[in-house]
Symmetry: C2
């Protein structure tokens, strides 16, 4: 079966986020004075083949921990769901 | 009221994603031969003050369209939800 995975990698709370700070500082001059707390991250989407959703989730977690996130400064958040057009060949 | 917003900015389908392609090419050698279709993007999280969720969503959409995404090559996906600790002061 094929699963769709989304991984969002974000800086841990307390780790400085210069890009987010720069965006936030620019916002009031651009008419967005109702926005605060901007934090940036990276997202990854891909498909993973696995026999069930638990196996797929474990694979995605392993991939995120080993290759996508730096666990010293980053957290990763996963979403795994069955692909709509997945199924028996 | 305060709302939590998440914006995911992704390259439109058909736009080349060299970072995703590079990750995908490296995966089999690292033991992940069950993963394909890697696409990368950027994520932004922030809080927005608004009177109701519709207004908040409009503000987040405007911010995403004007400042976060390049609409020529990128799509943006929004999530807006009431902050758990929001409410009357």
């Amino acid at each position: 079966m094929r699963f769709a995975a989304r991984v969002e990698v974000r800086l841990r709370p307390g780790i400085a986020d210069p890009e987010g700070t720069t965006i936030e500082r620019a916002l009031p001059a651009l008419g967005f004075d109702d926005v605060r707390g901007v934090r940036t991250g990276r997202s990854f989407r891909f498909q993973v083949d696995a026999t069930d959703v638990e196996t797929a989730r474990r694979r995605v977690q392993a991939l995120a921990d080993r290759l996508l996130a730096n666990p010293v400064i980053e957290d990763s958040e996963l979403e795994v769901s069955l692909e709509p057009d997945s199924g028996e060949p």
